[in-house]
């Protein structure tokens, strides 16, 4: 059998996290009753005109810089003409001739090593509205709340050869954009959407095969499955001596099957031309420097710094920097309590457990680093013991409570050495002569029982280490 190679390029749409839309001052907030975040501009009313949101340019440039692109310092918008009811003007303002970023690349890592994936271009455009199909009648309704929400489209070169590389590329891209705060990049919610262009060729061939474009991929898993399925489908066609048809296909992840939406012959002629209602976007050196100056520390840089500065395990650093929000919490907590190891432990252990239990994403963590830092300080000063700490952390995780106040109010403080605890231990010793004897006869394990009895007597509030010390002293 012949050996085949898969050639993949991606078109990734990312919804930008601006407060207002790309060409008007309507809110981009999700939800909201239909057609409440609208105005004459984003509903395509006659006579209305677009005005570019500067923040969109800044985000697009920031993503371009982070992906090593050349920034087009004099870029323009173009109109893409097509009729559809969710598109109020029946044209979309996008960029064809002079996109804002070009010729970039990012490095990805897979189990096979590292590799550069080229970025052909990044362009800015507006999102369309949403069609709602009336379940009772035969009507379709349009909600223009999404109309005019800013997007960037990141078009890669056909440099990927496997689903692994595609996922690595998308994860890398997602992290960069999340780190920039340019988008939350949620595939499920559509704030990041990837279309996969895939073709097959014999290993060693210099020409590309005919490609298809796959749409409706809502998760990394769906993308991986769709790539495998499309690869197999195209190999089958070629093996059968037939030709792959250039077409757009729609992936159905439940059926794990794709079907053709439209072929190249049906492709629309978008009649692109320069948008006359907008002036060219001139990106001055000063503006560019300003954007460069406000670029955050990205993951790769963070990893190096974490190892150097915090001395936490590579695995922990990898997980924590894998999410901007997690990294932010980690750094803020460490800055207060100066205990990176403990901060990392709380995030890697209890936080991950609770996230999983509650089916949450790290972005949904809402506790403040200040409270985690206080908790760490409480445990370090042995004011509470570790089982109490876990209990308190659960409250921090769910309600962001102040641990000092909570411990105080609920009387969870470790019973201190002087007085009460020493008395309690004396009583435990008196009540358990057998264990004392065992201990004195060399059965060192017997002390565990005495510690347990003391804990029971203090309702768990004592510090086991301290009990140990006092016990040894008294015995």
């Amino acid at each position: 059998m012949k050996q085949y190679e898969t050639v993949i390029g991606l078109e990734v749409h990312v919804e930008l996290a601006t407060k207002t839309k790309i060409f008007c001052s309507c809110s981009t907030e999700f939800g909201g009753a239909p057609n409440t975040h609208t105005c004459p501009v984003c509903t395509g009313m006659p006579g209305s005109l677009p005005v570019l949101n500067k923040k969109v340019v800044e985000y697009a440039v920031a993503v371009g810089l982070a992906t090593n692109c050349n920034i087009t310092k004099n870029c323009k918008f173009d109109r893409k003409n097509y009729f559809y009811p969710d598109n109020p003007q029946n044209y979309q303002i996008s960029q064809l001739y002079l996109p804002i970023c070009r010729d970039g690349s990012i490095e990805i890592s897979t189990k096979d090593g590292t590799k550069n994936i080229g970025i052909h271009e990044i362009h800015m455009e507006e999102d369309a509205g949403k069609l709602v199909h009336d379940e009772w009648g035969e009507n379709s309704l349009v909600d223009f709340n999404r109309s005019g929400v800013p997007l960037i489209e990141i078009v890669s070169e056909p440099d990927m050869r496997s689903a692994d590389e595609v996922i690595a590329y998308l994860e890398k891209l997602r992290l960069i954009i999340q780190y920039l705060g340019a988008s939350d990049c949620k595939l499920q919610e559509g704030s990041m959407r990837a279309d996969v262009n895939l073709s097959i060729r014999e290993v060693g061939a210099s020409e590309f095969g005919t490609r298809t474009e796959m749409k409706n991929l809502n998760s990394f898993k769906a993308i991986a499955r769709a790539i495998e399925a499309e690869k197999e489908r195209q190999i089958d066609i070629i093996e059968a001596g037939e030709k792959v048809v250039q077409e757009t296909r729609r992936w159905d992840d439940n059926k794990e099957y794709s079907y053709a939406m439209r072929s190249k012959e049906d492709a629309q002629d978008y009649r692109y031309f320069p948008e006359p209602d907008l002036v060219p976007v001139i990106i001055s050196d000063e503006w560019l420097d300003e954007i460069k100056g406000s670029q955050p520390e990205f993951r790769d840089e963070k990893l190096i710094r974490y190892k150097k500065e915090y001395n936490i395990p590579d695995y922990d650093a990898d997980i924590i920097t894998g999410n901007k929000h997690l990294a932010d919490i980690f750094e803020a907590t460490t800055a207060i309590c100066n205990n990176p190891k403990k901060a990392s432990n709380w995030l890697m252990g209890e936080t991950m457990r609770l996230l999983k239990e509650n089916n949450m994403e790290p972005e949904q963590i809402k506790f403040s680093p200040k409270n985690l830092a206080k908790l760490i300080e409480l445990t370090e000063s042995r004011a509470i013991n570790s089982s109490v700490a876990k209990e308190v952390f659960e409250k921090i995780f769910s309600d962001d409570i102040n641990p000092e106040q909570y411990v105080e109010e609920n009387g969870l403080k470790t019973v201190a050495d002087d007085g009460a605890l020493r008395e309690t231990i004396k009583k435990v010793i008196e009540d358990n002569p057998q264990s004392v004897e065992d201990y004195n006869n060399g059965k060192k394990k017997a002390i565990g029982f005495l510690v347990g009895q003391t804990m029971k007597a203090t309702q768990g509030k004592a510090d086991p280490a301290m009990i140990n010390t006092i016990l040894k002293e008294l015995l």
């Binding site: 570019l52 044209y91 002036v279």
Partner: protein
């Protein structure tokens, strides 16, 4: 004598001096409309009730000293392609036959702030596509000088109602001559300002890169006064320009001594009616008598302006008019079968022949494989035309020529030969392509008694030059 025979500034003065009330002025316009509209058909909508309500409010504002503008209380007619909140705005098309905008165009807001009383919306060529106002879905407007003739277009309604003294002044829009040519045909004065001077926000676009709103009135003083009021830097229009030289009335000076006026030879060649030629050259001589320096010169690329214009304007129009699809507002066909059938039938029934012709032309020149050959070439031609004007304005303060090659043709003569109609735009179109200001002022009558217009063209932002020249000419001109 009707109050409508006064200029806007004269009427404004009388209102200010309490000689006439705002209501009286509005009623004078409404009475004139009652008397003349059946023969002129210059309005699509006359908003009697609101005009009178508004007149009362403006009178109060004037009495309280809140409005001091020279045109406070003076009735105005607005071309029907400018959005007016809750008032029909049809673009003289069936497809917007029921359309009431949710907002008012910026230029109209500027007028309202100055105390203007909107009487109604004027007829035009459908979506401003045409040179005769015959492509309106609401019937042709007639030329008040001779109702068997067209008023020109596309701002034919605005020009005709001023010439017929149905209203004091009007707003028009000019994409390829749509203010200057009908002003010429109707014997009124109209200015197309430098692109970017008047906000296009709320102007229903035809050719976005060429469209400008401008005043149409009885004389240069009115035009300069109104232009000063409607000009503004509008953040809602990205192509709007911030200018600090919009005190246009300061140029109302009867003095052209030493002014260098260039006369493009190509504007006086074949195709120009001899009577128009004579009147325009006589006008030039009048200015020369006042001390202007005349010089003939060759303005390059005149012949390429028309094809370049029709490619660019139609391309933009094909996209601008895509939104009229029956989904959101305006006309929707009665019976249809599915979405595409609805689109097709709505647009087939809603648009007139000239609009369809230009949408098809525009879609063609933008289609894949033709874009470079037509649209890009037209953009390059546009840039070269601008360069040719730049060179001319290095030598001259003003360029002088006719506004149109003929006087107003008879109704029905033009539409049968659209190519000939397109050629009639030859003197006005390059001004739009280069973004320049131009004014048309009456300079005589032909043997049929129809008005002839003199066009004065200025460099970008040099409205004051053409206002001064036109004002000086107006002061010496005796024929009208």
């Amino acid at each position: 004598m009707s109050l409508m025979s006064l200029t806007a500034v004269q009427l404004g003065e009388k209102i200010k001096n309490r000689e006439i009330s705002v209501i009286e002025a509005a009623n004078a316009a409404l009475d004139a409309i009652d008397a003349k509209e059946s023969s002129i058909n210059g309005f699509v909508t006359v908003d009697r009730e609101n005009a009178l309500k508004r007149a009362e409010k403006v009178q109060k504002d004037i009495d309280e000293g809140n409005i001091l503008s020279p045109i406070a209380g003076v009735p105005v007619a607005i071309k029907d392609n400018m959005c007016t909140k809750d008032m029909l705005t049809t673009c003289s098309s069936k497809i917007l036959g029921n359309f009431k905008p949710s907002y008012t165009a910026e230029a109209v807001i500027n007028l309202e702030k100055a105390g203007a009383v909107i009487i109604g919306k004027t007829n035009m060529d459908e979506f401003a596509m045409g040179s005769t106002t015959e492509t309106s879905a609401y019937g042709a407007t007639k030329n008040p000088w001779n109702t068997e003739h067209v008023p020109g277009g596309s701002s034919g309604g605005s020009c005709a109602v001023i010439a017929a003294e149905e209203c004091s002044y009007a707003l028009g829009s000019d994409t390829g001559g749509s203010i200057r040519q009908p002003s010429s045909f109707c014997g009124v004065t109209g200015i197309k300002p430098t692109y970017g001077t008047v906000s296009r926000y709320g102007l229903i676009a035809y050719g976005s890169s060429l469209d400008q709103i401008g005043p149409i009135a009885k004389d240069v003083t009115d035009c300069a006064t109104v232009l000063e009021i409607i000009s503004s830097h509008d953040k809602k229009d990205s192509t709007s320009i911030k200018r600090d030289d919009i005190d246009f009335t300061s140029a109302l000076v009867d003095d052209v001594k030493g002014m260098k006026i260039g006369i493009p030879k190509g504007y006086f060649g074949e195709g120009l009616d001899p009577e128009v030629k004579e009147a325009v050259l006589n006008a030039a001589k009048e200015l020369e008598k006042k001390g202007a320096i005349l010089e003939e010169f060759d303005l390059d690329l005149v012949d390429y302006a028309i094809p370049a214009y029709y490619v660019i304007a139609c391309a933009e129009a094909s996209s601008n008019l895509a939104r009229f699809d029956g989904v959101k507002y305006g006309y929707r066909t009665q019976d249809y079968n599915g979405l595409h059938n609805m689109y097709k039938k709505t647009r087939s029934e809603g648009f007139g022949a000239e609009v369809k012709r230009r949408i098809m032309l525009g879609s063609f020149v933008l289609s894949s494989g033709y874009y470079d050959a037509y649209y890009l070439k037209a953009l390059r031609t546009k840039a070269l035309i601008k360069k040719a004007f730049d060179e001319a304005f290095a030598k001259y303060d003003v360029i002088l020529g006719p506004a149109a090659p003929t006087t107003a043709p008879k109704l029905g003569e033009s539409l049968s030969d659209p190519l000939k109609m397109y050629l009639g735009d030859i003197y006005t179109i390059s001004v739009n392509l280069a973004g320049l200001p131009g004014i048309s002022v009456p300079c005589g009558l032909d043997c049929k008694g129809l008005p002839i217009g003199l066009q004065l063209i200025g460099d970008c932002f040099k409205e004051k030059n053409i206002i001064r020249a036109a004002y000086s000419f107006e002061k010496c001109e005796k024929k009208l």
